[in-house]
């Protein structure tokens, strides 16, 4: 059948809903924008510097790894930029340039690319980088030390450090609305609670993140903190305080929900969020670290493949098709 005109013979389906990884990445960045903008307005040029360096470094590392591994360039999907952005959001504004370079290297190369790139990373890359930095340069990652030269007219003691050293009485130095509006020291993009919630809701409504994880994480932080608070109100802070301080909100909406390292089935998602929440409060209240979100989520990332084995039975398992 000689015919000049040939048709594309791809496989069904022939339609696609138009979603793409890059759209997802850019939406995530858009959702992070309110928190980031507040961070920049508070901390000024240094914060902007950290953000810009982090995003660009992350993309450069990605490109270098693409070349080294002889794979097509993948910076277009925006995933590296998201990792860079999230990493910067978690950092204090005073972070030195070399820490950002090393951190993005760890995130993109060690955390993601050597496992095979997007979708292959067993742990959240940005959190891997933050955790490693926390272990290596403790004082740099300590917000009280790092932000010692800033004074914005509100209590400049990192809230979680305050309750760790002074117990629940320190809670009264902060007001809830203030915490929600970003009146607390912390990472560049982690303090503006309201912005993070808006961003998170946007992502949930757009279907880019799985609401089950965020919800169960927040709920379990609340419940666990409440139990601690009831057991000893002088020692352990109230649950709302735990929800609005530290990395809790960014963790719930941007970190725990990272695709590759979180479960996709319904019950595992709830369990994952719940355990991460419990662990977060445990670390904060009795563990060694000031903020537990980073390691709690990493720990659950590790448990993710096992959790995700809990899944509904497939329909008519074993139907033979003619």
């Amino acid at each position: 059948m000689p015919d000049e005109k040939l048709f594309i013979g791809s496989h069904a389906p022939y339609w696609h809903n138009g979603s793409s990884i890059s759209a997802k990445s850019y939406d995530t960045m858009l959702a992070a924008l309110p928190a980031v903008v507040l961070g920049i307005s508070q901390y000024g040029a240094p914060a902007l510097g950290v953000l810009a360096l982090s995003v660009s470094c992350a993309m450069i590392w990605e490109l270098i790894m693409n070349v080294a591994m002889k794979r097509p360039a993948s910076i277009g999907d925006g995933n590296a930029a998201v990792i860079g952005l999230l990493f910067a959001m978690l950092m204090p504004a005073t972070a030195p340039w070399w820490a950002v370079v090393v951190g993005t290297f760890v995130a993109v190369v060690i955390g993601k690319q050597i496992f095979g790139g997007i979708g292959c990373n067993p742990l959240n890359p940005a959190l891997v980088a933050i955790a490693i930095l926390m272990l290596s340069w403790e004082s740099m990652m300590d917000f009280n030390d790092a932000l010692v030269n800033y004074d914005f007219g509100f209590n400049m003691i990192y809230p979680l450090a305050a309750i760790k050293s002074f117990g629940a009485s320190a809670v009264s130095d902060y007001n809830t609305v203030g915490l929600l509006m970003g009146q607390q020291p912390g990472g560049i993009g982690t303090t503006f609670g309201l912005g993070l919630i808006i961003g998170g809701l946007y992502l949930i409504l757009r279907g880019h993140i799985r609401w089950e994880i965020s919800l169960s994480f927040l709920a379990s932080v609340f419940v666990t903190a409440l139990l601690f608070n009831l057991s000893d109100p002088d020692k352990y802070a109230n649950p709302v305080f735990h929800l609005l301080t530290g990395y809790t909100l960014i963790g719930a909406f941007f970190l725990a929900t990272e695709d590759s390292s979180s479960p996709v089935n319904f019950f595992p998602m709830l369990l994952y969020g719940a355990f991460a929440g419990i662990l977060t409060v445990l670390i904060r209240n009795i563990g060694a670290f000031v903020d537990g979100v980073v390691f709690a989520i990493l720990m659950m990332n590790v448990a993710n493949p096992l959790l995700d084995k809990i899944r509904p039975k497939a329909m008519g398992k074993g139907i033979k098709h003619a």
């Binding site: 059948m1 015919d3 000049e4 005109k5 040939l6 048709f7 594309i8 013979g9 791809s10 496989h11 069904a12 389906p13 022939y14 339609w15 696609h16 809903n17 138009g18 979603s19 793409s20 990884i21 759209a23 997802k24 097509p72 999907d77 995933n79 095979g116 790139g117 997007i118 979708g119 292959c120 949930i204 409504l205 757009r206 279907g207 799985r210 609401w211 695709d259 590759s260 390292s261 979180s262 996709v264 089935n265 995700d308 899944r311 509904p312 039975k313 497939a314 329909m315 008519g316 398992k317 074993g318 139907i319 033979k320 098709h321 003619a322």
Partner: protein, 428 residues
Amino acid sequence: MIKRPFFSLGKPKLKYPVDDTQEQDVIRVIPLPDRVTFFLEDPYERNEGFLIKPGDKIKTGQKLKLTEDDKDYVISSVTGTIADISQYRGYLGKTYAAISIDTGDEEQWDDKFKEGCQKPTLENSLEFLGCLPGDTGFIPILDTHPPLNTIIINGLDKDILVSTNQLIVQTETDSLKTGIEYLREITGAGEIMIAVSPELASQAGEIDVDVKVIEPSYPNTLPEIIMKSILGKTPPADETWEQIGVGLINAEAVVAISNAFTKGQIPVSKLLTVINKDNTTVHVRARVGTHVKEILAALDIETYHGDQLVLGGPMTGHALYSEDLPILADTDAIMVHDKDNVVLPSDCHCINCGECVRACPARIPVNMLIRVLENDLYEEAAKEYDLLSCIECGLCSYVCPARIPIFHYIMLGKYELARIETVEESNA
């Protein structure tokens, strides 16, 4: 193409776009084609020793068989001369004998059926109605022991934008009625039901059977889901629907049964929905075996190099590489897809976003399945990740942000698995 809505929480909702029904009712009849082609499954890849050979005169309605022992046959839809019998390798590497017939001037009907089969009986049906327009799945329904308890008539269409069966329910209610009577006589089935969309529920109510209303949004209209939502069960492992006593038949085939026994002629025309590039649809009636080119020419649809030509709907159809391929007895639709809208698959790794898992009506862990399939672990895919539960709806590929051709991998997996099994059986 239905885009993802701006806010999308949960499963994709693929409502069937409702067209202007008035225009839909006009069925355009495609003129008798110059040449038709039929495919007969031929696993042996033989080339000679056939009962038929080029140059043979064929009448309309004549039964064509490759050898005396073969069970498979086709019914010629035209009168003419066999021009060519050649090999054709179709979907998933299946081999067929392609029989091309040049249409003669005058139509003559083969009267074997008329003579031999006045009565609708099981034997007659097995002998002549194996490839009715509308459904090739008729034989399994007939050929069961004991006879089926339940037969469901599918008044819905499998795929989005396709409305062939719906049109049949709408316009040929009477034939449907008689068809059901015949069907009851032939199969002795205890219960016959019809599944229709809500718009046609009242019309179907005139038929003297149980009417089941199915929300016509994809994938509710896939045969497996229809059966499941009507009967509330799925067959246990390693059994087919027929084995648990249930059969499904398209409404068009039921009408064809009715026409066959009332007119004494096996129907040879097929009703089709043609989906144009702008997603407008036209209904046409064409002889089975007509080449797609002639149908498109009759409708003034222009195609260009690089477009996509699909037999079937956008979710489950099969792409053709050439216009010179025929429509088959079970082709419900032809879709012409503009080259600008063609979805190009990517080589991205699964990003584990979970869209596919949420979309999957069969609750398959697609995120893991695609990983094992990419690594060619077909047996593990079947054993641990429910490869064989897939009902082939294509939603996973449809929603995948990484644009992985998941459905393609799944079909490849099933194919490879079947191949491994045959190899093992022949070795055993």
